[in-house]
Amino acid sequence: MISDKLKQVILTELALKEFNLQDETVASQVPGWDSLNHINIILAIEKGFNVKFKGLEILKAKNIGDLQKLIDSKIPA
């Protein structure tokens, strides 16, 4: 399940008011999430959650659900 905070970070970065983001949502389904914006979203997530990803971890993430798992793995419970 993706958190409200992650949703908010993505929507703010893409200047979207509302979009139904789900675990299975992939970048190409979200308006404005192109290859140039992709990196801005990653940077916004790293800043928003105060985490640092490895390049390979980002490449392996197939959808937003994977991004959420990646964030969770970096934040101590």
Partner: protein
């Protein structure tokens, strides 16, 4: 008179001749292909036989094009099959990385050796760092295409997007598959491999679509690309200073259309042939000259290469440079398009072609907010006028890169630009139309068809699909007749073979 069989000639049909590969448009290919197709259909419910016959024919097809460099193809298949497993089965991330690095080095090392050794020796000589004689290296046809295809398999396994396939036979078919082994599309392992295990039922719609694609491909290649090239473009590109700016400019428009029709014509044929065998290959083009920006163009041109580079080179670079923000993206674009240029061949014109594209994209990225502000102010953002302007502007940026692509050296590019900008002479235009009427009609026809809405193509395709078989056969016969009329006595190689 008794029928004499020339066994020597018959034998030569089965042996390698570097001047006579099995081109899709040749009658010999048609003969062999019909034979393969009959086997495929006769034994449609015997998967093993079907796969082996395809493997065998694919190897023969490659042997006809590259002789005993066929063993390089076999090596690529065996090596990447083994390394796919090694990467997947490695217990530690470190070991995974080691095997992956070896796989990358071997694949790119082979590609580099065959394609770029003499280019680098030439650079060493030019920079006066030494005097080294060029080596006698044969360039195995299609090496850039099958290397990238094989690399997609190991990369996808490394990124945990794919599990290694168990069958070496099936993996080899992915690498050898004759419709795409020489000139792409660079199909992804994850999309192609599952099709081998399916039962590949071929519907009537598939046959109609294949017929439509092959017909389009034949016309694009032989009636448009070759005709323009042989009868006009080669002359202007060969001696730009002998012509005025008018002919030079039309030759540039011709070259852009020729490049597209040559390559997309080949792809159409490959897709059609694949469909008849029960395989759906990746589409490579989506009306590239309709692009509203250079970025949009790369989402429409040579898609199997552009998405490959986007996923496996641009994205990793962009992620590594992310702390530099836009400048990091600019650096990633620069490196990716340097690779695009180099991939096309060991020639400075290709490298300049790639770098020019990177310049377009980087300038486009940095000026995007300013341009947006202006179009907003003028209230034209997103209007038809705006789009029309974007298409025309983008087309001319691309047409300029077509000069680099078609020129034997940078000097020829400069000569053409010189003629266009300083020796234009518009009064020559009526004489040009009179002297090259057919060329002119073909160029106009080619662009008009290109800019028709996609729905027209879909309707034409559906019409062919729904036609009775007899009519389909008549249509195909008409296409062949047209092609024969246009086909020059000399066989023109597909431009992309050399890559």
């Amino acid at each position: 008179m008794p029928l004499a069989i020339d066994f020597e000639k018959l034998f030569s049909l089965f042996t390698y001749d570097k001047h006579d590969p099995l081109l899709f448009g040749s009658s010999l290919f048609l003969f062999f292909f019909l034979f393969v197709l009959i086997i495929q259909r006769l034994f449609s419910n015997q998967k093993v036989l079907r796969i082996y016959s395809l493997l065998f024919f694919s190897l023969f097809f490659y042997y006809k094009a590259a002789g005993f460099y066929l063993f390089l193809l076999l090596f690529s298949s065996a090596f990447n099959f083994i390394f796919g497993r090694l990467i997947f089965e490695s217990k530690t991330a470190f070991l995974k990385k080691i095997f992956f690095t070896i796989a990358l080095l071997v694949n790119l090392g082979l590609l580099g050796y065959f394609k770029y050794t003499n280019f680098f020796l030439q650079i060493i000589n030019d920079l006066k760092l030494g005097t080294i004689e060029p080596l006698d290296i044969f360039l195995p046809i299609g090496i850039s295409f099958f290397t990238f295809k094989a690399l997609s398999y190991v990369i996808e396994i490394y990124l945990e997007m794919l599990e290694p396939i168990k069958s070496f036979r099936d993996f080899s078919l992915f690498i050898f598959f004759f419709p795409n082994v020489l000139m792409g599309p660079i199909d992804r392992a994850s999309a192609f491999l599952p099709q081998i295990e399916e039962d590949n039922p071929i519907t009537r719609a598939d046959v109609g679509r294949a017929l439509f694609l092959i017909s389009c491909g034949l016309i694009k290649k032989y009636a448009i690309a070759d005709y323009i090239s042989l009868n006009f473009d080669e002359r202007v590109f060969g001696f730009p200073l002998r012509f005025t700016g008018v002919e030079n400019l039309i030759a540039v428009y011709g070259a852009a259309l020729q490049g597209y029709c040559d390559f997309s014509g080949y792809t159409d044929m490959a897709l059609g042939i694949g469909l008849l065998l029960g395989y759906k290959l990746m589409d490579n083009f989506n009306r590239p000259f309709k692009a509203t920006s250079v970025g949009d163009y790369w989402r429409r041109w040579h898609l199997s290469l552009s998405t490959w580079l986007l996923d496996y080179l641009f994205k990793p670079l962009q992620i590594s440079f992310r702390s530099m923000r836009k400048w990091g993206t600019a650096l990633a674009i620069f490196i990716t398009f340097f690779a695009v240029g180099l991939w096309h061949g060991p020639n400075w014109t290709f490298i300049a072609f790639g770098l020019l594209h990177s310049l377009y994209l980087i300038v486009g990225m940095f000026t995007q907010p300013v341009r947006r502000r202006y179009t907003d102010k003028l209230k034209i953002t997103g209007t038809k006028f705006h789009k029309f302007f974007q298409v025309v502007f983008t087309f001319h940026l691309l047409a300029f890169t077509a000069i680099l692509f078609g020129s034997p050296s940078l000097q020829y590019t400069l000569d053409m630009m010189h003629q266009i900008f300083t020796y234009f002479h518009p009064e020559v235009f009526p004489q040009f139309v009179q002297a090259y009427t057919t060329v002119f009609i073909i160029i106009v026809f080619g662009y008009v068809v290109h800019f028709l809405p996609k729905s027209v193509e879909e309707k034409a395709q559906n019409l062919v699909i729904k036609m009775p078989v007899v009519l389909q056969a008549v249509l195909f016969a008409v296409v062949i007749w047209i092609v024969v009329q246009f086909k020059s006595a000399e066989m023109m190689p597909f431009i992309y073979f050399q890559f």
